[in-house]
């Protein structure tokens, strides 16, 4: 496969004595939208968390756009800082910062983690919100947003630091069919920008309609 931007190789992860991932090997090329499917407990969310550096894994390796993570040890801080520039994540429940407006949610990391001037970050933030059709909600707080709006703000927030790889955990779980369709189109738009997406989902129809590839997990391994 040419231009692999994300590679996981024989990733094992256990919680206590319970194995969660039992050798996940996966290559994702730039510009792909990979749908990770599988029953609950198959390890979909866990592998996304491991790729995002939120979960320490026991053995194996993960490489995200040239940043290598090794199993069995905590990620060294310099590596973690590099990783944060390479991968963004949109959580199932969006996890927006409740005390900040939609626009401030989007601008927080560019200003404080990447040193972007607040005015420039705000301009870029509004552009992102506009691109996802929620610019009119820029001043609203998370509790005032609908599920679909909150998800779009969360995607805008993740993209504000411009990561080449975007991970999404169960993005369709709380959407009605119309909103699901809109999300699919939005993700297609991101693909056109040559972004790489790995999306965990239970939604076979959504995956078939929008993913470039479906990868199935069962009992912590790709089948």
């Amino acid at each position: 496969m040419s231009d692999v931007v994300l590679r996981t190789e024989r990733v094992h992860l256990s919680r206590g004595r319970r194995p969660i991932l039992t050798g996940v090997t996966l290559d994702v090329a730039r510009g792909e939208l990979v749908a990770l499917m599988g029953p609950s407990g198959s390890g979909k969310t866990t592998i996304l968390r491991a790729i995002a550096g939120l979960e320490r894994f026991d053995t194996g390796t993960i490489v995200v756009d040239g940043v290598p993570l090794a199993g069995g040890a905590p990620i060294p801080p310099p590596t973690l800082r590099q990783l944060r520039r390479k991968v963004g994540m949109v959580f199932q429940f969006h996890c927006l910062f409740e005390h900040l407006s939609a626009l401030s949610n989007v601008c927080l990391a560019p200003v404080h983690a990447h040193g972007v001037a607040p005015a420039a970050a705000a301009t870029r933030g509004r552009e992102l919100l506009a691109a996802f059709g929620v610019e009119h909600r820029a001043d609203a707080y998370p509790r005032q947003l609908s599920g679909g709006e909150a998800q779009r703000v969360a995607i805008a927030r993740a993209l504000a630091v411009d990561p080449p790889v975007l991970l999404m955990d169960e993005p369709t779980a709380s959407l009605d069919p119309d909103r699901r369709e809109e999300l699919g189109e939005l993700l297609q738009g991101l693909l056109r920008q040559r972004r790489t997406l790995v999306v965990s989902t239970h939604d076979e129809e959504f995956a078939r309609a929008f993913a470039t590839r479906i990868v199935r997990l069962k009992d912590g391994v790709v089948v």
Binding site: A52, G53, L54, R81, R84, R85, V87, G88, M89, F91, F93, C95, L96, F97, E98, H99, L108, A109, H112, A113, H114, A140, Y141, P142, R143, Q144, A154, R157, A158, A160, V161
Partner: protein
């Protein structure tokens, strides 16, 4: 066996009696043992009409010998000249003495509301008490005397020598009234204590420069504390009396007759000699009393301007400035203590959430130690307990004591608030590239602070009131000043109302400001 029965009696007293009310029963062998009043009521009901009537007398054993104290050899027994005078009065009235353990500064109120028939605990005769209560004939004449460090004996002979110096005494006494006048007239600084032990220990270690108290207290303390000299000059003369409610005048008159007889037949002399407080002043006093001469309550202090003899309005006007001044002490102390408590509380909470195991254990230990022990004990340890190593000024000790105590409670509020922020938000912040410090300061703490604001406001208002505890460290704040006003006035109505008004004037704007802040910071509802 007998000791065991006393222990059981004390346990019964705790279980069935009011918290601070015990009494002793004079047995045939004159051993006195505490039993609860509830228990005694049960007994007296059983004994029905044969039981002799009791004479309930209030005293404070904390005042100690020679007045009233627990017998060092038998802590369940009371001894002291006031105990023997209570026995004398009860015997004369053919009643059984029953002791009520009442804090010294509450004896007046306790007697006025009828808890006790008489208060006897080195109680001073004052114009206020004469105006609002019924006092017995004075049974002892004392002199207010100045005590100074041995090295200062030559230069501090009288109050006039103490301009700009700190002079200690017991709050709510004649000596305190003298010092308050001297503050104005001479320019010394009156320092009020809640007990008569620490003025002398603080004198010796240099926290104060002199102590003004009566000769009985001074001479007693000189037996246990070395390093101070009692000056010969008499600053004022006063008397100990029994204190009854104004409605109890017939009982008071009966007691006066008993006291007159005891003055005439030498009984009082025997009692006072036994307790080593007899001197030449007493026969002269008894002669005047037996001859029917009037004896003024105090000599050496102009009582014509006492608040007890003023109109309520004038008394209020004369005390209002000192109450306002005490309010400033209360609000400044509370604000500074709360500021420090918040800062320490944030550090403790952060350490408990983010620290390593050792840090978390140490901080948990601190929080549990502070929460598990009384704040009064902590204040005492900080001010008196550590005096040999660190001699903190009273205000600083009060500020630190309150702040260290409240920091433990604040830290628990902040820890709970920090842990209430969903983990998902923290992980989202991490994946965006924020450092752990930024996650804390930009995401977690701002939301936690909003959650903590309401309980913090609550604690601030509580701190305003808890700051009254620091009067035990000689800091004269609002409650203490009110108590002094009430004692001198002989009534709690006006001082209590003013005090409540001042506390409300401080706490209500605070609560309103906190509500405004909460509204402003509250994230809009859906």
């Amino acid at each position: 066996m007998r000791r065991l029965s006393h222990v059981i009696a004390v346990i019964v007293a705790i279980l069935v009696g009011p918290a601070n009310a015990g009494h002793y029963v004079l047995k045939e062998d004159h051993a006195r043992s505490y039993v609860g009043s509830g228990f005694s009521r049960a007994l007296s009901t059983a004994a029905a009409t044969q039981a002799p009537q009791v004479l309930r007398w209030a005293g404070d054993p904390e005042g100690g010998a020679p007045f009233v104290e627990a017998n060092p050899a038998r802590p369940d027994q009371l001894v002291g000249f006031d105990v023997e005078i209570a026995d004398l009065l009860a015997a004369g009235l053919r009643r059984t003495p029953e002791f009520l353990n009442i804090r010294f500064d509450s004896i007046d109120q306790s007697v006025a509301r009828g808890d006790a028939d008489i208060g006897l605990s080195g109680i001073e005769d004052t114009p206020a008490r004469r105006a609002t209560m019924a006092v017995t004939l004075p049974y002892y004449e004392f002199r207010e005397v100045l005590s100074v460090r041995d090295g200062d004996a030559a230069r501090f002979g009288s109050l006039a020598d103490l301009r700009g110096k700190r002079v200690a005494t017991l709050a709510g006494t004649i000596a305190y009234e003298i010092l308050v006048r001297a503050e104005r007239d001479i320019g010394l600084r009156a320092v009020s204590y809640d007990d008569d032990v620490h003025p002398y220990s603080d004198l010796v270690i240099g926290r104060v420069d002199a102590v003004l108290l009566d000769n009985v207290l001074a001479e007693r303390r000189q037996r246990s504390v070395k390093g101070f000299t009692i000056q010969p000059q008499t600053i004022a003369v006063g008397h100990y009396v029994g204190l009854l409610s104004a409605a109890n005048i017939p009982l008071r008159d009966a007691m006066d007759n008993i006291l007159r007889t005891a003055m005439g037949d030498g009984t009082l002399e025997r009692i006072l000699r036994k307790w080593r407080v007899w001197n030449d002043d007493q026969p002269r006093l008894y002669q005047r009393l037996l001859a029917g001469e009037p004896v003024p309550p105090i000599t050496g202090l102009d009582t014509s301007v006492s608040v007890a003899t003023m109109s309520k309005w004038d008394a209020t006007r004369s005390y209002l400035p000192s109450l306002l001044q005490a309010s400033v002490v209360t609000i400044v102390l509370s604000c500074l203590s709360m500021g420090l408590a918040i800062a320490l509380g944030v550090l403790i909470a952060t350490g408990r959430v983010y620290g390593d195991r050792l840090t978390r254990m140490a901080l948990l230990g601190y929080v549990e130690l502070i929460r598990g022990t009384p704040i009064l004990l902590q204040l005492f340890v900080l001010y008196y307990g550590l005096a040999a190593a660190v001699r903190l000024p009273a205000f600083i000790a009060a500020l630190l004591g309150l702040a260290l105590n409240y920091a433990a409670y604040e830290s628990e509020i902040y820890r709970g608030a920090l842990e209430a922020i969903p983990v998902g938000q923290l992980e989202a912040a991490r994946t965006l590239g924020l450092s752990e410090r930024q996650v804390l300061t930009l995401v977690r703490a701002p939301q936690a602070f909003r959650l903590a604001l309401a309980p913090m406001t609550n604690d601030f208002v509580a701190m305003l009131k808890d700051s009254s505890l620091v009067s035990v460290l000689t800091v004269l704040e609002l409650t203490k000043q009110t108590q002094i006003f009430a004692t001198n006035l002989g009534s709690w109505v006006i001082p209590g109302t003013l005090c409540a008004g001042l506390y409300l004037a401080m706490s209500l704007p605070l609560a309103a400001a906190a509500r405004r802040l909460e509204r402003r910071w509250k994230t809009p509802a859906p």
